[in-house]
């Protein structure tokens, strides 16, 4: 017997990634804090460790306003303009 799938058939998006760098040396690294505890302190720690390993990097830290809402367009634009790569932390 035939039934209508309540999910339908979805063909998802397919998006390519930017090329990965071979090394982080000299890069501008973005850190996006989603405001969940203790992401801010994790990010500070990661910054410290990254700087120890790669003294030439630049860090661009930013934060969402509320974890449950998307990052504001100006935040995304700031990351686009100021960063070569971005680490985005999620979760609880």
């Amino acid at each position: 017997m035939k039934f209508c799938s309540p999910e339908g058939r979805t063909l998802p998006l397919s998006i390519g990634f930017a090329a990965r760098p071979k090394s982080l040396e000299g890069l501008r690294i973005g850190l996006l804090d989603n405001t969940k505890a203790p992401v801010d302190k994790m990010m500070q720690h990661i910054t410290k460790r990254l700087r120890e390993k790669h003294p030439g990097i630049e860090i661009f830290s930013t934060s969402k306003k509320v974890a449950s809402l998307p990052a504001a367009p100006e935040i995304m634009q700031g990351l686009r303009l100021n960063c070569d790569i971005v680490i985005n932390a999620l979760g609880d």
Partner: protein, 434 residues
């Protein structure tokens, strides 16, 4: 690259896939991170630090060329089962289509009848539903409505509710994936509520021989099946609440002469409307003794002044559902609905001492610096950021009870009129037979 904890890997990877990035690099830290001593968290980071560097610098395999747009189409599946209920139910559940309760099989005839109830083309797109970004066509909404036990006359309400859910200010993405227990509460206002037998009276939040149960359930199935919020996988609610099965009431527009919710939102007369509210479970407010507005407001605000609710931290809209007898007592003392909202804003306040030091620092001071910081431990915290954000409606039957419904905070309620394809309101006479 995503840095995530073990309990959220399914959500993070599922979302990356939904958004067209199935190969998004991830580094997974052992859960939990929040509520954990900082040195423990940082030790977890240190253990994975080399992996973080490696994931940032390892070449990725080229993305599979694909389309830049999500497409959902209807799909008809053949399922053979000699046992129409037991066997079919097991098959539906195995496909992840259900909410754990028996489902009405979505046959061609039933789905077609449901589509006709909407008065719209089967392929018409009503909205794109996060987090799967599934495209809710009329036919897909109809299939879920069949499975929930709806009748075709319910379709106009469901279509309007989906239109409301996908409005950006509702933040469906957040509501669907959060650890918070949020579920959309549907509040149906206007002449269609009675015509469709949607209960605004005794036991309106509970079971009974009316349409509340199946309409609310259809929305939940739509959220799971089209929106992709499969419980435990993408829907990461720590516990959820019973309203995630079904959460729909009608508004009592006659017990007091206050503007109803639909009228406040600009829809009066023949135009019925549905409002979606990202809501927690209702919390009862019992006051059988007060004979004045002042007394009732004291009890109501005392109940609403809870420190763990999201609206305190964010910018949401706490909902007060006044029982008609409470509402009449308050209105008889000369209170308008706006007066009631102001009373809640002014009186439902929580001492700062009722919050953990971490909440005070991270959520109250950081987000609401001017209001609370440097004002001493005696400062009182409001349950909404503005009095206009407090929502008040009337519902329920005889008795001296009201309900406080805390909300998700990172969401705004949305009201949509229940309209036909030509933009005119659906009228009760057009929805007979319910």
């Amino acid at each position: 690259m995503l840095l995530i904890s073990t309990s959220f890997t399914g959500l993070a990877r599922g979302q990356a896939k939904n958004l067209g990035m199935p190969d998004m690099p991830t580094v997974v830290l052992p859960h939990p991170l929040g509520g954990t001593p900082l040195d423990t968290v940082l030790a977890k980071v240190d253990k994975q630090f080399d992996e973080i560097i490696a994931k940032l610098t390892t070449p990725l395999k080229p993305a599979v060329a694909g389309q830049g747009k999500i497409i959902t189409t209807s799909e008809w599946v053949e399922i053979e089962s000699a046992d129409e209920w037991g066997g079919l139910q097991r098959e539906f559940m195995a496909r992840g289509w259900g909410d754990g309760l028996p489902l009405v099989p979505p046959t061609e005839a039933r789905v077609a009848a449901m589509v006709r109830g909407a008065g719209l083309p089967a392929e018409q797109v009503v909205g794109v539903m996060a987090p799967k970004m599934g495209v809710a066509t009329v036919e897909l909404i109809a299939a879920n409505a069949v499975m929930a036990g709806c009748i075709p006359q319910h379709m106009p309400v469901l279509v309007a509710a989906v239109q409301a859910l996908v409005e950006p200010q509702f933040n469906l993405y957040g509501c669907q994936a959060t650890t918070h227990c949020v579920a959309p509460l549907l509040i149906v206002s206007g002449p269609l509520a009675q015509a469709l037998n949607i209960n605004s009276g005794s036991g309106c939040f509970g079971p009974g021989p009316w349409a509340n149960g199946v309409i609310g359930r259809a929305i939940r199935l739509i959220l799971i099946n089209i929106g992709g919020a499969h419980p435990g996988e993408i829907d990461k609610a720590t516990m959820g609440h019973p309203g995630k099965f079904s959460y729909c009431i009608a508004e009592d527009e006659t017990s007091v002469a206050w503007p109803s919710l639909r009228v406040e939102r600009g829809f009066g007369g023949e135009t019925s409307a549905v409002t979606v509210v990202g809501a927690e479970a209702p919390h009862n407010i019992n006051d059988h003794e007060a004979t004045s507005a002042g007394g009732l407001i004291t009890t109501i605000c005392g109940t609403m002044a809870e420190s763990g609710q999201n609206t305190v931290y964010y910018t949401g809209e706490p909902l007060l559902v006044l029982g008609p007898e409470h509402a009449q007592t308050i209105a008889a003392d000369g209170f308008s609905k706006d007066d009631m909202k102001k009373a809640v804003y002014d009186d439902a306040r929580i001492p700062l001492t009722r919050f953990s030091p971490e909440i005070i620092e991270r959520r109250l001071y950081r987000r609401h610096d001017i209001r609370y910081k440097n004002r001493g431990p005696g400062v009182m915290v409001t349950v909404a950021q503005r009095w206009e954000d407090v929502m008040v409606i009337v519902a329920g039957g005889p008795g001296k009870h009201s309900m406080f419904v805390p909300t998700f905070g990172a969401t705004r309620s949305v009201t949509r009129p229940i309209l036909k394809a030509d933009g005119t309101p659906w009228l009760p006479a057009e929805l007979k037979g319910s």
